[in-house]
Symmetry: C2
């Protein structure tokens, strides 16, 4: 079979295809870099139309990571996908979904485990980088806690996926990011692979 076997060449051609097809022109250069990696992770060049972001989101996330900030993830797949060699300060990558306290918190608060795990972020949230790649309830719960005066993360990559609450939670993040730099994709699309791609690109400008 005839196919490209050189990893570096595959990357080069992939990113060239994406940059040729995707409408990246209106985006700040560093946000475009993040969007290219998100497109690379899902195979769809039409993401820019649904992308919403603060102009400073990549700078804020990158600066926080350089200063040693942890990455708080809603799902184990997100935590698993972060490329450790791209992290500038051997940053901690945390997913607390399986913490033994999470099921009790979920019951007490009457919400999902994914939302309840946010309660365990509180002490780490100040200046952290947040990545939501699965559960709309995680993002909703975080926004509620920010409204209640919780410490502010450095940046939120809000990319939950699906049919119930995903579009609404991302619209709320884009409508009022509560003063926190953010990046999101309106609508149903999102997911762990896309959140990981955004994080990996924000962590390190290298394509």
């Amino acid at each position: 079979m005839d196919y490209v076997k050189d990893g570096a060449e595959i990357y080069r051609r992939s990113f060239a295809t994406i940059r040729a097809e995707a409408a990246l022109d209106g985006l700040p250069a560093d946000v475009a870099g993040v969007c290219v990696r998100m497109i690379h992770a899902c195979g769809m060049t039409d993401l820019p139309a649904d992308l919403r972001y603060s102009d400073d989101v990549v700078a804020a996330a990158r600066g926080a990571l350089r200063a040693g900030a942890p990455i708080l993830c809603d799902a184990k797949m997100v935590a698993s996908g972060v490329t450790r060699s791209r992290l500038p300060a051997d940053n901690e990558v945390l997913c607390l979904l399986d913490d033994p306290r999470t099921p009790d918190l979920a019951r007490d608060l009457g919400t999902t485990r994914s939302a309840a795990a946010v309660e365990l972020w509180r002490d780490r949230l100040e200046g952290a980088v947040v990545a939501v790649g699965n559960a709309p309830t995680t993002l909703f719960h975080l926004l509620e806690r920010l409204d209640a005066g919780w410490p502010r993360p450095a940046a939120i990559f809000g990319l939950p996926v699906g049919f119930i609450g995903a579009a609404e939670s991302k619209e709320e993040l884009a409508r009022d990011p509560r003063g926190v730099p953010f990046l999101t994709l309106l609508g149903r699309r999102g997911g762990s692979a896309m959140a990981v791609a955004a994080l990996n690109a924000a962590a390190d400008p290298k394509e």
Copy 2:
């Protein structure tokens, strides 16, 4: 904020939305179940048009897993996403990308690490369930080895994503599955979240 917080209700409404919107009618019931979970993982109800499969792929994968077959994955995110509680026989979930032998194999074979890791599958491949959620070169390399007479897996979930080789490798799998039950999605779309969703659905019929 007003949103659904009951996890079971979120699942129920999500799957109801998917079943109402997606054109699942032509699919065997068990393949439809897999497709519903794939749609759930990516937020796109138009997957059925691009889905290709053997009618027996879910039965073959489920039977193999019940008999204790390992799951061979191309990417750590895929391995990480498999819900262990859905596996019927505490099945092993393997990703050999980081095996110390993989870089040397990649150099010797003049291919990617993702393809080279397939070499390390050989002793485990007979009757295994294969999940490719990232690299087209993994799928191409596996098909080449099957053509060379390697042992046959029980089923291949071939869902690499992207711009260079993804569409071509999946088309080749669909064109001639080499007698191995398979499921794939034509075109550029795919990815680790979709591969995980397919695996989790094949492992356990529970929605």
